[in-house]
Symmetry: C2
Subunit: 423 residues, 2 copies
């Protein structure tokens, strides 16, 4: 294998909209100062390509869940792809990642599909996938503070999970944290987490979007560092989910990946991960991507429907999101819609939606096969029903066994046509 | 490495009290028909010893979290030590085990100790360590049913976590499950799990011990299989925690292991795991074991205090457990006290207790360093304070920084004397 020490890997912020703005990852900057677009972390691809696909696989497999600290973490086992130049002593890790990829055998059988897999990103320290990104962001802050930068605290707006992850990683590294939550919209279980971890917890009489506006004000000065997914460091950790999925499937991509979409950072992250896997020769094809929105909080779905398809340059009009069981994606003004649209375009994707009934039914059905699906997972599962009828026979059988209504049947046929499947 | 296929590994039930009763693992039997003592799973140690320590390590490391299904599971990656002759197609696994071993750096610093580690057994599919044993038990039932044995359902009494694990593994394998819970003593979050997974959930107007009596009646006929920890199959899965801890510490034993104790099966399991590691040459010494009880539910502590020390043949008088925040170990008549006492004797162990205040304080203090400790973990953490003052300087520093009261100081000194430490 090419020794790692012979290649210098590096990454930096750049404007995701195409300006030539660049900044080091230790700079306190969230948007391009020229166009106000979001940033993304860009890697020195020439350096990454100097190691071939089989060597990358061997490196990642040797570390997975087992390597010397912190390489046993699912995120830091891919450190060269995440934040290569971070000093190892500044990594704040709680062995995030390495989560189960469960085969939902009974569920698949019930809906007439052979292979339905559930990536249980929530089987982690704070109980949600947010740990994956937060370990990167808080590690970056630890590095900045180690260099003497005057960051007093890290702050975020949250519907629950982000604040839990921020508070835990900050507590582990002794960095103060501030979390802004919409009053009455966060479960007690989720509220207890940042309080226990010693965060300054502020409940505001507004929704998530309102909290988001306040935290952006708070973090105007560089001594309060912004931890929301607008901050593109988190994307780097979250994209390792794609790497793990491919790895757990024996270095192949699934045919389809369905992901629930609220603020839409995670959809962008997943796409970025698969593109990197393909580019560096670890998989030989891309999966198709479905972003699944709750019908009650569907600004991306509406925009795509209006435009007749998903394009990276589509404008997504903010809406006021209605109440949904999937409370963490009850977001009307998604910060990362551009990121998601770019991923959808690159992965030949779709945006679909699920009603409250559909998401609840899908979660309940999966639970009866041993899963324990949250409503957000229910949104994605509902679309596995709608989208994954890849053979006419399975479609007919599902219609019979699942008592699909004629209305739904018409919708399924429309979707199948859009996917270019036989009807 | 010695090829696995050349050695035939096997295991069977035997009377844990020393009768010569033996039975295959697929027989529906929970107690010795001669002496009514519990059973234990005994392995063909001669076969296991035919592979040397380094080869076992290499085998386990190669599989850890990564091997072909089901060897990526923390439990089934050690299949030869757990249930060697089980047909692989009957394994019901949800990638249990492989949980983080977190270094509580801030917590250790606060109490004056360099190395305090937390094994996060709850970072798993249903959220508790019970998955580790339940995967073995439900797999055994699947094997029995595959052989045509008329098992209609699997049943358990539970304070919450056991029922969640039973229901999930049964749902995943299509086996009916029945759970008996003490009404009002199980959190809503824990109640939702077996209900979602389609178990028959019965709430009884009694405590855990009452539910235990009813489920033992229910399972008198062999068509209802008993899933409580009395069933020694679960111990086999749970003992893999010891293997993982040693593995994650680079194949060494920690100096001390502290484990909360209620029904006491897990304490026995942990001891069994470390003894096996030592016997087969994977570690060169045993840790000392501390079983930590809540002061409000402390039958083992009382018995040991009365007898002036822990001996394997000690009789543990049942008590009526008082309410404790650590509700899952609010057990007055522990089924597995003999198992625990044998482990304590073999691992030169101790039994200690923590008050409600102590367990709450310890959990809160750990949370401020990034943990998210349940009250049961709090019981163990409280005893890390009391027991782990291995150097006088650390003890003095802790007394200063933690504001230890004089009363506690006297108690600490007494414990240190018992442990043979300098005072």
């Amino acid at each position: 294998m090419t020794p790692s020490s012979n290649i210098v890997f590096s990454a930096w912020f750049r404007c995701a909209e195409g300006c030539d703005f660049r900044a080091p990852l230790t700079e306190v900057v969230y948007r391009c100062p020229r166009c106000q677009g979001l940033l993304e972390v860009e890697h020195d691809m020439d350096a990454l390509r100097r190691r071939n696909g089989p060597d990358w696989k061997a490196l990642f497999e040797g570390r997975f869940r087992g390597g010397a600290w912190p390489y046993g973490s699912g995120v830091w086992g891919k450190k060269e792809w995440v934040y290569p130049q971070l000093a190892t002593e500044n990594v704040v890790s709680m062995y995030e990642g390495g989560t189960p990829l469960l085969r939902l055998e009974g569920y698949g059988r019930a809906i007439g599909l052979r292979d339905v897999w559930l990536k249980e990103c929530g089987v982690t320290h704070t109980g949600s996938f947010k740990d994956l990104g937060m370990t990167v962001l808080v590690s970056a802050v630890k590095e900045m503070r180690a260099r003497g930068m005057p960051i007093r605290a890290v702050a975020c707006a949250s519907t629950g999970d982000t604040s839990a992850a921020l508070a835990a990683y900050c507590a582990a590294s002794g960095i103060p944290s501030v979390v802004l939550l919409p009053r009455g919209k966060v479960s007690t279980a989720q509220l207890v987490q940042p309080v226990s971890n010693g965060a300054l917890v502020l409940e505001l009489d507004t929704d998530f979007d309102g909290c988001m506006r306040v935290v952006q004000e708070l973090s105007r000065t560089p001594d309060i560092y912004l931890a929301n997914s607008m901050n593109s460091l988190r994307i780097e950790g979250q994209k390792t989910v794609a790497v793990e999925v491919a790895q757990q499937l024996g270095w192949t991509s699934p045919d389809w990946v369905i992901i629930p979409g609220g603020n839409l950072g995670n959809a962008g992250a997943l796409g970025k991960g698969f593109l990197l896997l393909k580019d560096l020769g670890l998989v030989d094809r891309l999966p198709r991507l479905v972003v699944a929105q709750a019908e009650n909080a569907n600004p991306l779905y509406r925009a795509v429907q209006r435009a007749g398809g998903a394009r990276a340059d589509l404008a997504v009009e903010p809406i006021t999101a209605a109440t949904t069981l999937a409370s963490a994606i009850q977001i009307g003004a998604p910060v990362s819609s551009r990121r998601a649209l770019r991923a959808i375009e690159a992965l030949d994707g779709l945006v679909e939606q699920a009603s409250e009934q559909e998401l609840a039914d899908a979660a309940a059905r999966a639970d009866l096969s041993g899963a324990f699906a949250c409503p957000h997972t229910g949104v994605a599962l509902a679309l596995s029903l709608l989208l994954l009828f890849v053979a006419q026979s399975a479609f007919r059988r599902a219609r019979r066994t699942m008592k699909v209504e004629d209305r739904d049947f018409a919708r399924l046929q429309e979707i199948r046509q859009r996917l270019g499947m036989d009807t």
